[in-house]
Symmetry: D2
Subunit: 407 residues, 4 copies
Amino acid sequence: MLTIKDSVHDHIEVGGVAEALLDTPEMQRLRHIKQLGTVQLVYPSANHTRFEHSLGVYHLANRVLSHLGIEGVLAERIRAAALLHDVGHGPYSHNIEALTHRHTGKYHDDVAELLASGRVGDVLREHDLDPAAVADLVAGEGQYGQLVSGELDVDRMDYLVRDAHHTGVPYGTIDTGRLVRELTFVDGQLVLDEGNVQTAESLLLARALMNPTVYQHHVARLSKAMLRRASERLLEEPDISADQLRRMDDHDLLASLRMTGRTTELARRLDERDLYKRGVWAEREDVPDDVLDLPHEEIREIERDVANDVGVEPDSVIIDVPAEPSMKESSSRVMVNGDVRRLDRQSPLVNALRTAQRQQWRLGVYAPGDVADDVGEAAVDALGLDIEGALVNYVRTGHRTTLDQFE
Amino acid sequence: MLTIKDSVHDHIEVGGVAEALLDTPEMQRLRHIKQLGTVQLVYPSANHTRFEHSLGVYHLANRVLSHLGIEGVLAERIRAAALLHDVGHGPYSHNIEALTHRHTGKYHDDVAELLASGRVGDVLREHDLDPAAVADLVAGEGQYGQLVSGELDVDRMDYLVRDAHHTGVPYGTIDTGRLVRELTFVDGQLVLDEGNVQTAESLLLARALMNPTVYQHHVARLSKAMLRRASERLLEEPDISADQLRRMDDHDLLASLRMTGRTTELARRLDERDLYKRGVWAEREDVPDDVLDLPHEEIREIERDVANDVGVEPDSVIIDVPAEPSMKESSSRVMVNGDVRRLDRQSPLVNALRTAQRQQWRLGVYAPGDVADDVGEAAVDALGLDIEGALVNYVRTGHRTTLDQFE
Amino acid sequence: MLTIKDSVHDHIEVGGVAEALLDTPEMQRLRHIKQLGTVQLVYPSANHTRFEHSLGVYHLANRVLSHLGIEGVLAERIRAAALLHDVGHGPYSHNIEALTHRHTGKYHDDVAELLASGRVGDVLREHDLDPAAVADLVAGEGQYGQLVSGELDVDRMDYLVRDAHHTGVPYGTIDTGRLVRELTFVDGQLVLDEGNVQTAESLLLARALMNPTVYQHHVARLSKAMLRRASERLLEEPDISADQLRRMDDHDLLASLRMTGRTTELARRLDERDLYKRGVWAEREDVPDDVLDLPHEEIREIERDVANDVGVEPDSVIIDVPAEPSMKESSSRVMVNGDVRRLDRQSPLVNALRTAQRQQWRLGVYAPGDVADDVGEAAVDALGLDIEGALVNYVRTGHRTTLDQFE
Amino acid sequence: MLTIKDSVHDHIEVGGVAEALLDTPEMQRLRHIKQLGTVQLVYPSANHTRFEHSLGVYHLANRVLSHLGIEGVLAERIRAAALLHDVGHGPYSHNIEALTHRHTGKYHDDVAELLASGRVGDVLREHDLDPAAVADLVAGEGQYGQLVSGELDVDRMDYLVRDAHHTGVPYGTIDTGRLVRELTFVDGQLVLDEGNVQTAESLLLARALMNPTVYQHHVARLSKAMLRRASERLLEEPDISADQLRRMDDHDLLASLRMTGRTTELARRLDERDLYKRGVWAEREDVPDDVLDLPHEEIREIERDVANDVGVEPDSVIIDVPAEPSMKESSSRVMVNGDVRRLDRQSPLVNALRTAQRQQWRLGVYAPGDVADDVGEAAVDALGLDIEGALVNYVRTGHRTTLDQFE
């Protein structure tokens, strides 16, 4: 049993299969993948990694297991899944996931393969654990998969608190101790026990406050889009496959971008925080529905057309169409007067937050500062946006500089 | 200029009129009035006082003044009002306010009189400040009164953070630094600057989470009702006037309750946390509208009837009908695309939170444990509540004990 | 099993005998005794109570028991002792202990009697625990008494962290998690395991930093001396015995002081923070050795002589001679290369800290501000202090006011 | 004026020359250099960067300037120096400093050159600041250089608190607010004002506790030595100069080590935390004095001899001889009774801490786990260490694994 000091949970005790897993290259690699990717360009202190987050998730899983009285092989399997749940992440976490995903197929298959092979597979088998069963838990399958990946999972509990701690934002603070203590299984469903409607709401609200302030901050989105563009270029190099890209860590990716001819300029911009500017920042109601369904290749086509129109390099135009907001936490379940109820059936906040998230949704078009206005106008036409003077209405101009965190 | 160490704001620098005011008996008295009264029976660490809160409010006022560039006499007047804003509080803060209020008339007149007399009045005049003008600010009057008592006031910013810190509850955490920095006056109205809809919402949400968890926790309400009942008895003593009661601090009140024949039993119960139990805990929809409008004396009459029915002492029955929830923060104002907008016109959360607060509203009937069920049944009849088996539906029984904090 | 939210340890789970003990009047009384007494006049946030501290000590004891694998009756006995360890405290904690002690004999006998009688005795016996055995643990007797009252006890671990948290001073921060995990018994002695010399030193250093900043702050000492003087007067009243005084809580004591003719003036001064001033603040080397050994009555005699000399009331002169500093933590034991070593044999810091504490030692003479200088001069003569111009050398004058925290 | 959120100081306001400097590539590069280098292998949360530290130092400098009333060009020069003070750091901070230093000459000349050239030089001159004067401040020269680099500098204040925050270790907590407020200049010397002997001691003690726990933790030293060894190999490559090495960031260095044939194995070991083990861990008294003075090349020679003896690759033996401990904080100055006194003349703690640090000093010999014992024995002979059974006496074996943090 070893003890690791963590800035969020203080001392974390690690034993059994988890202790052995920690020493695998696959787990150690997570030390070099930032939890929040380009959010660091908005919140300079947000340099925490998937490694410490994985330890935190393991720690909370351990506390839930002890609370629920789950022991033996099942407990070890859940502990392994908690620790390993992010082992399939590519460099810069979710930032380029869409990209590696697009080229390589199902993420979950990939995780299953990862867990079955290499040192991780060896360690699991040495501890009489079936890698496929662990992968199922990571994918949220079965009754106990809800603990690792579900509406009330320990992943969520750790990252909300950890991301708040490291950004310095006071909004992600939830009462993990209470959440852990109130979890229970009813008919195979993971629910919060009687008297916890507010506990469930607090999880939802923490997320609702973190989204616009941290996760969807426009500078984080903008720099993430630039990183994705650069990585896309990298994948066009003859000697780099999506599979290789996915196995890189942050160092490999940045070094590759710096050294590869077609990506040095984007790498320089990211390194020096010399970011593109917003040419369009459009609300949901001003965007035709079909734009949301455009496949990636057609978006790329429009980007090239716009670039052509304005007379700039194709890479200088980025159209960023986020998915419509989901709120997984809204379907969490709580006991109310003896019945299991879905939170969105019980709490008037859920619909309101859905509306709020829809209000916060923005389509962005980004380009180098000197052509951002022109690119914006051309993109408004090309996408058929229902706005005039998008720049006046939707982007505040001027009096804050690039490090501005909250606008 | 002196420096005071505070557990919330670290170092607080005090100078000018505030430094002189600190040494008055009226301010020092606040050292002996707990900020949260009987909440201490739920959260044992919640022993902070009106004194440290007043210092915190002064500190935040100072930061707002410096941010807004307000100086000179106006600034000193606002500082004095911030420091003195709670000087009129009776013992146990808001817990028995209704009582002293009912007997003595307008709270604000009382404050105005307090500020004009005694050492406080002397100090204000010595610093060329008009006590009446300071009292107006405390009452939230005029443009600058909004800073001291309004939807976006520094009072609220301090107590949310301070109450969270001392209860240990993680929900009151707001970003005071950001709130202070984003305040501005537009046409005499205090508003949050452009880009702060979420900032305003966060204030509202902090309050929405603190209400059920802390301020309206049923044990806090129950013990507050018992304290109020005991104080009411105390006022029936020939030698104690409402005015005297209001000038007591927590020590005086407790000592008086312990020493006065008719209140010793209630005092003992509060001292030993041997509290009444809930006989009814009814939702809003089950309470006839006219019950909410019953004047205090008629409620007292019903209590006596119920006590008579069940055959217990009149003081053994307490009917606790809270006011319908208000949400002052919902009318705070934010700049949106150049216009001042009320938050409840802008944010879908406001209505949802109103609904949520209405859902959390409960009418309580309390009595000693051994007669709570009987009293509950009699009260259901007497109040015409539309419930059957109130105890089964609304009160969880048994498996948690008196210190249970959240149920 | 109930869960209590604590501002220091977050959630504290209470079960078994501890849960039953919590509901006794003797434990609930501790809600009304401040942990740090008059320190609140220096650090306005320091209003935490013996009740929350006792819960914290119980919580840490629980963690140590679980770490050491101690279970059953022995564990329950230790838990009871941890929770009850302060139940014998008089009002204002240690502030008037010397006084009640002087009049009533041994503190530990008193505790043994307390634990055997009343509701506490009933509860202990109902749980098959021998009150006398629990009292022995509280007194630090036997192998397991070291956990409750010794150089490495959980009392110390809780109060250092808690006092730091509530004063806002950053110095008491120790790593309780590590301390708990590294405790072990070797030949019946409680020691820190191999590799923990610095852990033991950190406990000592936390104490060394808290002493001058908090516990021995001159304003805390001065107001404590005034409170003791007032309580001494109170004891001269025909109807108040030392035994009664000891059973009061803070409210009773303050109310009594305010209502008793001979103590109203001192009570007013304490209430309004209108404190005496220092007339002498002498270093150890300037105080003849025999002054340190003077019995209380002779000190009182000298005070009266000085008062007579200067022509003031006898109560206006307070001579405050602290004991020579001890450092219990210095004899804590640590494993070093397989041997048990006393920390003061191992660490060069111990002697240095002893010297530092001796340097910080001060004899104080206090009196009302207008006569403090005269009283000081007379006291220098009467005590035979080897100083000239004590006021110039030892007391900084003027530019800080009464709330000044650190000078 | 822009506002940046920091996890330590909350909001940091940046304006003037600092705002312009933030956008230079030289400053942005610090985002990619970890503050504590390989300490991350001991404390997984310690991923904070030189960038956020530099912002923190700037912030504290700003507060000191405002406290001291320093304005105008001098203030801007000090602000620039505070922000830029680490701009000359190579990758992995101090970890390979000795190396780049050894090959490239004076660090301070390098900084002066850096500040005069590139975008930083442009920005300084655009703001009418002389790069050479700023470089002097960074080097601690002149009266105001003491604020940036001296015994009481803002660098130290930031890193103690920040390193504690991110490691999770509770020991670095100092009262920065008090330190800032008590600084003053007396005859051109930066001193702490009257009444602050303990304040100065607290700085020293924070350092004394952080040293063994964090900065000199044996795993941090061991991995740092491995990184240095690998970087040394890298410098032997024909196409990499010390100058290039010094301008890399962490990503460049790790990527280069991974890609360069002679360093891939060491890179793999660092990546996978498959570290060397200690073969010797010798106390100061067992090490002949002349070993401490051996020039780098002779140490390298002995390493090769030992490797030869044992029959392993030369890179498999690392001898790590730390400098004798210094304690810069011990010569800080404090006002005592009107005189400026050096802390080590005033406080008995300074000498004790010096002795303690000497006791903690260790010479390490590291090698791959399977040959560590043999290498240890050969090194004991080669270095003439006065120990027998070094492994038994000085290294605890077995029961803790590689992640063990404190041993």
